[in-house]
């Protein structure tokens, strides 16, 4: 007898349907699996046979052939255990063929017949729905994730037996409630900007950077609160909307980083990879590419602490993804595109000892400092939009009674500034100031005569480059937006000067 069921697999962060065919015929008893299988899929035969036996299904010895089609797509992962056993059971006649039609099966089997969660559920179910499959049976652990997709019947089974009972109608599983995106409640972070005492200039710079999605570089000694502030950036970013949330959840699902009880991810990610990270794990990679840290920080913050300690080549790889907001990784089986629209925040020490320009502590020589700084390549520096030198926090700030602003307060201003930007930039196809194309910059900034004169003066005095000037203008535009000002004025440009990236390390000798 022959029968087939539908299953799915991941291709990057997208789903793809796979048909699992089972044929049982007379002949020498054997269990044969074909269809371009990875070794973990091949091993399914042992798991399936044992799990079936332990679930009290008994088969007469026959020649069993399993085919996973389309045959030219490499199958990987352990999600095919359940569909294989269901196809087999229906081929043997335990389950009527009609009962398994148009149902998506996903799940890994344990030897005793229990079903275990697998990764990438969200993408696969979403894809299946688009292909017209509205019913899915999957491991109990994955039910919440699948229920994110509206209009799909999701049944979570704890073990193989439950799934079969449901199919033949003996004992129905409970249909999982759709866990939609709840607009009314907002996500509560456990950390808040008001935890940061003092450091007013850092806060201001951070606010501007977030409002315009400018990449931000902190230069300063240990203990200045660089990490602390960076960690709180997601709390002042606008809430994730539904589409962003789904996109992000798909990435985490594909990477297998969702917990069983978790539905959609509501918090913006904050990723802080250690500097020993390899290029593959940063960008995404592997024989079958999986999303890297930059994709895991999609719609959130990628924080590179001790930026100079990162491998130079690894950092260079960030260049193209930062520009494009997505990264395409090509392998022989095909190319995979992962979204990675993140805000880059980096921190570094100003010199090998970390205390420059405080010459009472720092005795690094100027050539030493220059050598140290030069580890940051010019192209990488070009990707940073704002830079701020920070200072160690002082005791009086820590115990100060000054009331600090909460993330909520700051967020309100940022949301407002972002709304202005979106409205203005929609015709250019970008949505934040950092992405304004250079040729549009002048018209968007609406500079007056006085401002143009100031820029000329700055150009001379500060030895700016054209690129550096553009960055200052973009940042000025964001400052003006925060200020609710239509035009970029002299004052906005003057403030933006404090965050310029040019000459961020000067050849001076200290304080």
């Amino acid at each position: 007898m022959f029968n087939k069921v539908i299953s799915g697999t991941l291709h990057g962060v997208d789903g793809r349907l796979i048909v699992v065919e089972a044929d049982v015929s007379d002949g020498l008893p054997m269990f044969n699996m074909v269809g371009f299988l990875a070794s973990e899929v091949r091993e399914a035969s042992d798991r399936v046979r044992t799990a079936l036996k332990n679930s009290d299904f008994h088969f007469s010895p026959k020649k069993i052939t399993i085919n996973l089609s389309p045959a030219d797509v490499r199958k990987e992962g352990s999600a095919f255990d359940l569909p294989i056993s269901i196809a087999l059971l229906s081929a043997y006649g335990y389950i009527p063929a009609d009962c398994v039609r148009d149902i998506l099966f996903i799940g890994e089997l344990s030897l005793n017949g229990d079903l275990k969660g697998v990764r990438g559920i969200l993408s696969i179910v979403d894809h299946a729905k688009k292909q017209g499959i509205y019913k899915v049976i999957l491991p109990f652990d994955n039910r919440k994730e699948a229920a994110i997709i509206p209009d799909v019947e999701v049944y979570g089974a704890r073990n193989l037996k439950e799934a079969v009972e449901h199919l033949i109608g003996n004992k129905l599983l409970i249909k999982e409630e759709h866990t939609g995106f709840d607009d009314s409640s907002s996500f509560e972070y456990t950390i808040d900007f008001s935890d940061v005492k003092g450091q007013n200039s850092m806060k201001r710079a951070t606010e501007i950077a977030v409002a315009g999605m400018h990449n931000l570089l902190f230069v300063g000694p240990p203990g200045a609160g660089k990490s602390m502030i960076a960690k709180r950036i997601p709390t002042i970013m606008p809430e994730l909307d539904h589409d962003e949330s789904v996109e992000l959840t798909k990435i985490y699902s594909a990477k297998g980083m969702l917990s069983p009880e978790q539905g959609l991810i509501r918090s913006r990610p904050f990723r802080t990879p250690h500097h020993s990270i390899t290029a593959q794990s940063l960008i995404g990679g592997g024989m079958i590419p999986k999303p890297g840290e930059i994709s895991l920080s999609h719609h959130g913050v990628l924080f590179l602490d001790e930026m100079l300690e990162f491998n130079k080549n690894t950092l260079e790889m960030l260049r193209q993804p930062i520009e494009d907001g997505r990264v395409t990784i090509s392998r022989i089986q095909g190319s995979y595109t992962f979204p990675c629209n993140f805000m880059l925040v980096a921190a570094m020490n100003p010199c090998p000892c970390g205390y420059y320009p405080d010459r009472s502590k720092c005795h690094c020589t100027i050539p030493q400092i220059e050598r140290y700084i030069r580890r940051l390549s010019q192209p990488m520096l070009d990707r940073m939009d704002m830079c701020l030198q920070v200072k160690r926090i002082e005791y009086k700030d820590l115990c100060g009674r000054q009331k600090e602003e909460t993330s909520g307060d700051i967020k309100k201003r940022i949301v407002h500034a972002k709304d202005i930007q979106r409205k203005r930039l929609i015709k250019l196809g970008v949505n934040c100031n950092s992405q304004i194309p250079p040729k549009e910059l002048n018209s968007i900034c609406m500079l007056g005569e006085e401002e143009v004169k100031l820029i000329e003066e700055m150009f001379e005095k500060l030895e700016l480059t054209a690129r550096g000037m553009n960055k200052i203008l973009k940042v000025s535009r964001t400052i003006a937006d925060l200020d609710d000002s239509e035009e970029v004025t002299r004052n906005h440009i003057l403030e933006a000067l404090s965050y310029r990236i040019n000459d961020f390390m000067r050849g001076e000798e200290g304080l």
């Binding site: 201001r204 010459r359 004052n491 961020f504 304080l511």
Partner: protein
């Protein structure tokens, strides 16, 4: 070939023989009096003479090759192509002050002008690792002394040296930079603009031929020229153990006046200066302190400006008050300005002290920086510019 030209070539040859140092050359000159006599003396006799002195590295073949006339002329002409002038102990232009020091340089390479022998000059020196205070002081003293028609000599290094030159250029007077490397080698790189300025407004000079890299060993030798070219040495800022003291020691040996700016006791970067004062250096708290001592030294009138403006003696304290600057500013700017001092302050401290919004403070500071009344010695650290 004129006689004078030939003498120049011969001096150039003598000073540039590989492996032959000043001591050896001087001994040869004692024996033979002029480079010409050495050149036309039999090679073997010279070699024998050299070998009587141990530690002469020059080999026979090196010596013989060095005497190739064409290559001497070729290499000498390269100097003028680069705008470099060569002078030697026999030249008329050779600075008078240098003739009187122990171990005077046999030859010098320079661009620009040489200092006027009749005019007073002062070396303003200090550490490369300096504070903003030190650099500002170097600039002010450079500027004010220069306004009083005193030549400012220094080493064109980072820190105090460079700032002293910059001050002197601001003051519109003559300034000379003494290098430890060939004068076509720009070291340190960040002073490139200063090198160009110096060639126009003063001069740069070195004992080393062009193309010679900045070896550490050359710098102490350079320092004797710095002190040698000046009538007094003003130490602006130096730690307890600083290379600056090489210059001071050599200056003392040459009989020059030593001046020092006092510093706070807890300030490591001024410890050397305070020690100098303790040992008897002139205590300097104003320009006049320097001028008076230099005046006493000789009867040449050094306080008359070239333009004839007479004594130009702004009190340092008046410069610090900066009243004229404050009048230019709007009230909020004045508030920001008034919390600044010569010691650079981090932007957060300025924000805290003025209680203004961070954005506003950044704006005022950058505005004043563009006006040229505020300095940003390190990013986001601000100080008044005096």
């Amino acid at each position: 070939m004129s006689n004078e030209e030939e003498i120049n070539y011969l001096w150039y040859w003598l000073c540039n023989i590989e492996g032959m140092g000043r001591t050896t050359i001087r001994r040869l000159l004692e024996e033979y009096e002029t480079p010409r006599n050495i050149y036309y003396e039999d090679n073997d006799i010279i070699m024998e003479f050299l070998h009587r002195n141990q530690r002469v590295k020059t080999t026979v073949s090196q010596y013989v090759t060095s005497k190739n006339k064409d290559s001497i002329i070729y290499s000498y002409e390269k100097l003028s192509a680069k705008g470099v002038t060569f002078i030697h102990m026999g030249s008329e232009d050779y600075p008078l002050r240098l003739k009187n020091i122990p171990d005077p340089p046999l030859c010098l390479y320079y661009k620009g002008r040489l200092p006027n022998d009749d005019k007073k000059s002062i070396a303003i020196i200090g550490a490369r690792n300096s504070t903003n205070y030190g650099r500002q002081m170097a600039r002010i003293f450079g500027r004010e002394l220069s306004k009083n028609n005193i030549a400012v000599i220094s080493g064109l290094a980072r820190g105090i040296d460079g700032m002293a030159h910059r001050g002197a250029i601001e003051g519109g007077g003559y300034t000379m930079g003494v290098l430890g490397c060939g004068i076509d080698v720009v070291y340190p790189q960040e002073n490139y603009d200063l090198f160009i300025e110096m060639e126009k407004n003063g001069g740069i000079i070195s004992e080393s031929n062009i193309g010679i890299k900045p070896y550490a060993a050359l710098f102490p030798q350079r320092n004797r020229i710095i002190s040698g070219l000046s009538d007094g040495i003003l130490v602006v800022e130096a730690r307890e153990k600083s290379g600056t003291f090489i210059t001071v020691d050599q200056g003392l040996e040459q009989g020059k006046e030593v001046f020092a700016l006092p510093g706070r006791l807890i300030d490591d970067s001024s410890k050397g200066c305070n020690n100098l004062i303790k040992m008897g250096a002139h205590f300097v708290s104003d320009i006049a302190d320097v001028l008076e001592v230099l005046d006493e030294q000789s009867f040449t009138d050094c306080t008359v400006n070239e333009t004839g403006n007479g004594i130009n003696n702004d009190k340092i304290s008046r410069i610090f008050e900066n009243e004229h600057v404050k009048n230019l500013l709007a009230p909020a700017e004045k508030m920001v300005y008034s919390v600044l001092s010569v010691d650079p302050k981090y932007i957060d401290n300025i924000i805290d002290e003025t209680m203004l919004a961070p954005g506003e403070v950044c704006m005022y500071l950058n505005k004043m920086e563009m006006m040229g009344i505020v300095d940003e010695p390190a990013r986001n650290y601000y100080a008044v510019r005096l």
